[in-house]
């Protein structure tokens, strides 16, 4: 290894680690001959796509591999002492005390039935000889360090009373409760908004620096690594592809796999345009003062007894924009900004409280005729290809459903021909119409979803986070496909994404939403290079981007 001449002894050494899963179809090697070191105070980034074995490596180190998986070879040394062969009891004592772990989803990593104070104090007292009162004080200090305002008051709150970002701070406080020497952070920010993501990375980094703890940061997001880590390893199919300093790998990747991986990552600085919309293009969709309110007030009886008034949330307020024919309009904003609500009104899933959506001059909410017209001409692609396809239906039936529902074809043969044609267009084998969705990977499923959206020959497709559940290389393929189909069928897209780099790459015009209001809109380069509003600037600044590496 290149960094063998490091002065300090490493906190963690992994030597030739092999993790195996005996499955019905034979032995599956999840981690194959992996070796690396982490020095005190160092942040080691581990990147790779899903199934690369990066999370499994983390789980192996902390001894939490789900059976039937097991460590089949190699050694794991913590400060020079082997820990992979410890008896379960001693391993339990090590967890939390010397190795802490942060998981991906802060919404599910806290027990919903206990206050965060109970969970913190329980962990602290398990590892440190403190009294109840001392542990409580320590819990308050930890929360304060993790950036929770008024920690003493918040200690007795339940997890559901915190936002996602705040919960992840609590999770980090929990992982650091006993001052572990090593923190394994498994996708700690993947479930969070960009602006929150930046804060969480900062908290994690500061807390580990001040304690001299080593960090193993597992993520699929190269941007996060670029921003946080000192060194990184790239994993693919259980093996280490490349190891080195972050700048080296991002600027001068050596291996083919790494080069392809880095090429696939869109950047918010990237100005390559993929096609030019004719400037005189007429608007196909016009949104006029669209407003949607949700009535969250409690029932009449509750209001009488609790003396609380009506509570109405304006999810979307007075939003107006136009989408040019054949162009892509990107809608960005954080969760809760109203972008998805907007999209649902555009495709007709929820009615607007006031305002109009015009599709080539026709109000899509005007009566029965407009509705059936809209159903044919407007389609939607959803975020999660695992949830948006009916698992009990064959792919052929899934794609044919809009054709049947809208009676676009008569005979069964004609429908089958159309489905076969659509599958070819999304670069899938027409034979796959006999298969079920679970036989496909995430990227292939999203192609099926695209084929379904195309089957009614729409002009306008709303894509709600079409690639955020996919790996970067798959994301690049899906985006390429969407782009090719746009030219082929003269499609117009509304692209909703929290990933600003994707929007920069795909969109011609961009709208930025914040708290239900469209704060800024304009041509994509204009908005990204010369943002006028503070909110847009903040959003752009908080994106971890690989071009930030010096």
């Amino acid at each position: 290894m290149a960094e063998a001449e490091k002065m300090t002894d490493p906190i963690l050494s992994v030597r030739n680690l092999v993790v195996e899963f005996p499955l019905r179809r034979g032995l599956f090697t999840a981690v194959d001959d992996v070796s690396f070191d982490i020095a005190p105070g160092e942040v080691l980034g581990v990147v790779g796509e899903s199934g690369a074995g990066k999370s499994m490596t983390g789980a192996a180190i902390i001894g939490l591999i789900e059976p039937p998986g097991h460590i089949a070879g190699g050694q794991i040394l913590l400060k020079g002492k082997r820990i992979d062969n410890l008896p379960p009891d001693e391993m339990t004592k090590l967890r939390g005390k010397r190795i802490g772990m942060v998981f991906q989803d802060p919404l599910t990593s806290l027990n919903p039935l206990y206050t965060i104070g109970q969970q913190l104090i329980e962990t602290i007292r398990r590892h440190l000889p403190l009294s109840q009162a001392e542990a409580r004080q320590r819990a308050i200090d930890l929360l304060a360090e993790a950036g929770i305002p008024a920690p003493a008051d918040r200690l007795d709150s339940y997890p559901h009373q915190f936002s996602g970002g705040m919960r992840q701070r609590v999770v980090i406080a929990l992982a650091l409760a006993a001052e572990p020497e090593l923190i394994i952070a498994d996708e700690p920010t993947s479930a969070l908004d960009v602006s929150v993501q930046a804060q969480i990375i900062k908290v994690l980094k500061e807390l580990c620096e001040s304690r001299g703890a080593a960090v193993m940061l597992v993520t699929h997001d190269m941007g996060v690594i670029a921003e946080t880590a000192d060194r990184m390893i790239v994993m693919n199919r259980g093996r280490i592809v490349e190891t080195g300093s972050v700048a080296d790998i991002i600027k001068r990747p050596k291996e083919d796999y790494t080069i392809r991986l880095i090429d696939a990552i869109p950047s918010i600085r990237d100005e390559t345009r993929r096609h030019v919309v004719p400037p005189s293009a007429t608007p196909i969709v016009k949104v006029e003062q669209l407003t949607r309110e949700f009535d969250l007030s409690r029932s009449f009886l509750d209001r009488m007894l609790g003396r609380s008034g009506r509570k109405v949330v304006k999810a979307v307020q007075d939003v107006s924009f136009e989408i040019r024919k054949g162009s892509t309009y990107g809608l960005v904003g954080e969760s809760g900004s109203g972008k998805s609500t907007c999209a649902r009104m555009l495709v007709g899933l929820i009615p607007p409280t006031s305002g109009r959506v015009l599709l080539e001059g026709d109000d899509i909410w005007a009566g029965q005729a407009a509705t059936s017209k809209r159903r044919q001409r407007v389609q939607m692609i959803f975020q999660d290809p695992y949830a948006s396809l009916n698992p009990r239906w064959r792919v052929g039936d899934i794609i044919a459903e809009p054709i049947r529902a809208l009676k676009l074809a008569d005979s069964r043969g004609e429908i089958r021909d159309r489905v076969a044609d659509l599958l070819e267009r999304v670069r899938l084998d027409p034979v796959s119409m006999r298969k079920f969705p679970h036989e496909f990977s995430g990227g292939q499923r999203q192609r099926i979803a695209i084929a379904r959206a195309l089957s009614s020959q729409p002009e306008f497709i709303v894509c709600d986070e079409p690639t955020s559940a996919l790996d970067v290389s798959v994301q690049a393929q899906v985006l390429d496909l969407m782009r090719a189909l746009q030219d082929e069928f003269k499609l117009t897209y509304l692209l909703i994404s929290h990933n600003l780099a994707v929007v920069r790459q795909m969109a011609d015009d961009v709208g930025v939403m914040h708290n239900g209001v469209l704060v800024e809109q304009g041509p994509v380069d204009e908005i990204f290079d010369r943002p006028q509003r503070d909110y847009t600037r903040m959003l752009l600044d908080s994106v971890p981007d690989i071009s930030n590496v010096e």
Binding site: G96, N111, L113, R154, S157, Y158
Partner: protein, 327 residues
Amino acid sequence: MLAFILRRLAQSIVVMLVVALISFMLFRYVGDPIANLVGQESRISDIEELRQRLGLNDPFYVQFARFIANAVQGEFGISYRLQQPVTELIVSRLPATIELAFASAMIALVFGVVLGVFTALRPKTFATGVIMTLSLVGVSLPTFLIGIGLIYIFAVELQWLPSFGRGQVTDLGWWRTGLLSESGRRSLILPAITLSLFQLTLIMRLVRAEMLEVLRQDYIRFARARGLSKRAINFGHALKNTMVPVITITGLQLGSVIAFSIVTETVFQWPGVGSLFINSVQVVDVPVMAAYLMFIAFVFVVINLIVDILYYAVDPRLRVHGIGAGK
């Protein structure tokens, strides 16, 4: 919380009124009670007079209003068969049923939860296989068969326990209990086991399924990553999270234990409300049947209310407007 309870009470009243309507219909459609009351040789004028005296000639709604008014005061008329006030009859039989129901609910709950947790924590051991297989027997065998089987083994062959009745009963004035005497306690064992077996296996399988589900959750993995002890994770974190669905089912099952103890009471000649009901059905003793229906509905309504309140106690997410929200 108060609004919630008030709303539930309002709903309960509606439920009770509907049940009252149905049980009142029994009076009119199950058969002519007069025919059962009088002998073959009674004169028409006597029958007519009896009809008049029982108020059976009044219009439907008048009779229904009278029924409701009486029911509210706990008055369900006079049993045709025993010529005693129905309320008195039910109250005198109630302690037997309630003691039996609670004993079997306790058995079902304690063994069900313990076995459910055990089989969830050790999913692949031999003992779990045996328990799971036996539990299938508990679910699929009808109650009367289990009762008769138990009587045959423990009362007839082994002669350890009595085969019928309630044993010696102590009268506390307002409550006649069998729990204070040796023979009373011994008499309770077989019927309680019989009645509990189905609930026991149901609760066990439910706890097991829920527990297996919860053990896969992220917060359990995170609890393990924090180095908490096995005991704290399994019983502190996991078990509490399995409780919400278990409370629902257990509550409903307790209701049905009381309601459907009929079979067990019949098999063991247990002098409870269930056997009173069966005897009344045989002679179309409508006031008793109607009152029994109302009573069972009342039990279910009360249990459901308690279950809803327990949710609040167990799951803080339901206390939407509780402490610290939205701070």
